[in-house]
Amino acid sequence: MRLSKSKLIGLAALLVAFALIAGTLVWRNSRPKPVEITSVDGYLGGEKIGLFDDPQFNALAAKDGLKVDYRKAGSLDMMTADRKGLDYLFPSSRAAVDYGKAKGVDTSTSDIVFNSPIVMYTHKAVADALVGSGIMSRANGVYTMDMSKAVAAMSANKTWGDVGWPSGYGQFRIDSTDPIKSNSGNEYAALVAATLNGGQPATVASIQRDAPALTSIFGKSGWMETSSEDSFNQFLTLGVGSKPIMVGYESQILDLAANNPDAWKQVKDDIVIAYPTPTVWSTHVLIPTNAKGQKLLALLKKPETQKLAWERHGFRSANFTGASSITRFGVPGTLDQITAVAELPRNDAMQSLIEVLTKGTQQ
């Protein structure tokens, strides 16, 4: 049979197309195979965003074939939020993990990744005034806050003038994030509850007994942010009149000094970090919800990630110390070793505390 001219052209075109496809396949197979990149997404406490946004961290992740994404959420809030399609939860305390467990979150593969102590951020004028009235002390350049005196002053509805700082507006208060939703506020609430219980970890009974005092102390703050990152930023932005003292993590000021030298320069002569005595540890625990989350956990536990997290973002390792002295950050008044530490209450007491404070906001 004879092929017509047009059919010949058609056949030739087909052959060329085959050749192109075959050639492409051969060429493709001859190239080195790229690392398969897995995206991992989950709920992240806001104070760790600086780390997760850090290009150096992202480079370490890429080496392990991970692209790390996140959604900002409060440590307690994330335990009851919709987890569909998410690979991890990364709250900031063991209490939050226990709370999650009680709410049905599988925490069996969770592990401690970082630690950071709860601290108070304030301004020089306020700190020095409180040293004058004995609520704070200063030794070797380190400010500490006597929790029992601070709680007593708040329970007695002392004004800022009463505690030595007449320029303050209204009653002496310590602002925190919402203790019902966010970890730093929640741990601070546990610390206040322990202080009201004579320094012993709070119990369901002591919390019920001290409910009016707890409600009154947290009632002084009114509006509370749900993220420690937002509250720290507002502390910096709004100034001493709005937020005279704010609860936060030690890592936050270290992160600011390391990553935002311009902002640090503006505030370093005024901002004071004060360690409460006692304080509580904020323990950053990663809860993987699947195999992808477990890969992220492995990445976070690697020595080079731990070193990066300390040197660039101020997170202490699982054993409560940094890989090098804290003086590397150039933040005055910081401590390498923290000795006065209170225990967090058991989960039933923590739940009771959340209940009391939830009721308190509705009065």
């Binding site: 709920y43 965003i49 946004d53 959604r71 900002k72 959420a73 939020a81 301004h123 004004t159 320029s167 507006y169 209204g170 009653q171 208060r173 602002d175 009632g219 002084k220 703050s221 009114g222 509006w223 509370m224 942010e225 749900t226 993220s227 937002d230 930023n233 507002q234 910096l236 932005t237 709004l238 100034g239 001493v240 009149g241 709005s242 311009d262 902002a263 503006q266 505030v267 005024d270 906001t361 509705q362 009065q363």
Partner: protein, 558 residues
Amino acid sequence: MAAKSLMKGFAVGAVLAAVMTLGSCFGTTPPGKANPAPSPNLQTFTPANGSSSATLSIASGSENGEVSNAIQKASDESGVAITMHYMGSLDIMNALEQGGSSYDAVWPASSMWISMGDTKHIVKDAASTSTTPIVFGVAQSKAMALGWAKPDGSTRPVSTSEVMDAVKAKQLKFSMTSATQSNSGASAYLAFLTALSGKQQALSVAELNDPALQASAKTLLSGVDRSSGSSDWLKDMVVSDPGRVDAMVNYESLVIAANRQLTGNGHDPLLAVYPSDGIAISDSPLGYVDRGQKLDGAFAKFAKALHSKESQKLFEQAGRRTGLGGTLANPNDAGVKSAFRADWGINAKPDALKAIAMPSADVISKALDLYQTALRKPSYTIWVVDYSGSMGGNGGRDGVVKGLNAALDPAQAKRSMIQPAPNDVNVFIPFDSSPQNDTVAKGTDTGAILDRANALEAGGGTDIYSALDKAIRELPADLSQYTTAIVAMTDGHSETGSRDSFMSHYRALKDKPPIFSIMFGDADPSQLEDLAGTSNAKVFDGRNGNLASVFRTVKGYN
């Protein structure tokens, strides 16, 4: 949470707002220039070099129109084009609750609205762009007469109860945005309550329920002579009729903007007065909205450029503070000095800002509810509505019925926090070639107006002026008891035979109410702009959108 469900209903749906403004999105903008917005709710910015890598659509408070220089600069530097959708802070919260609508970023006046709205955890990297306190801008002569200012323009701190006393003694009236529609009004109102409670701590529900506090707040708010749904428009209104207003409550940055216009036109400035016992501060956060649209890279570039030293200087030149702790980062810059002028009463020192502790979300929502239903000054609104023949064919009549229901039906209006209160008055005057009888509804039962609006058929010609003439004859004898407004809705070109007599009657009024208008169908913009110009009001464009949402918005202005 009780707060959540209450707050959900705020103001006009952001989705509708977006749809309404879509029609004006497609104009071409010269490179490197901000488009002077065919719609006042929309403004586009393209990078100076003409090519943009991406476009970010930002839901923003109206006050950010004042920092367009900084936005343009950041767009130039980052190569990212920006579309600003201006709306109330409360609409922004609504949009977040609905999953972010079609926005790539949010930029409300206060973090509060992000915190309350971001129930789906979609906002990332929110950071304050600048701060500005909410202050009283008091006419210079008035501030001197009250003993609040010296001849050099400097002012002394004034307590909220002193303001209340001046109101009580009929020595002071002031204009302020609606607390349920705009952040500046909400923040000022919460600061008033906190200060008047005398407790110097965050307001609680128990204090809010205290009849004595409610009585004080009511007295203070009785000094409100004009309301508004937007902070920026409040400023425009004050500037376009200098001498009428004793004072406005607004952002310090908008007092500065007003003064530049006032003094530029040869008028006296407003002097900034800082309440000594409680002030609210706007922190203007910009945050990315992650809807999976992968514009986070473009957002990061734009946000970085907006936080650059050069951009921050432009913010300060526009009257915002960008230093940490409420300070100025560029106090010695000539442009910044020309904004923060001591002879305008401006005190750039952060210790002038006696910030209140903001109440908790529950208290905020209860306080706003109380504002709308009990504490605000009653409103007297006359609805002058076109029922001419053309309204039957173009969907106008049905739109009007829906619109009146959206604004006046207590249950529907409550969702937008514009519901009628016991002392409010609404008057309905339908018209065609002449006005028909009026229907008056006092208090929360607006059924008579809604039933009549629903029963009327469209027919006849269009003469808006004779209807307005009737409206001003319906005004109460003592206007001081109300914030008063006329809302005129029309779809056509009006006959003009009665225009001149109406205008002369209007000009002869001692207290001249604003005549807001809603433009629909073939309405003549020049006739409505003329009414708005004469009465220092505003034209709302209902031609592209849904009339229900426009009626709701207009109600938010009174």
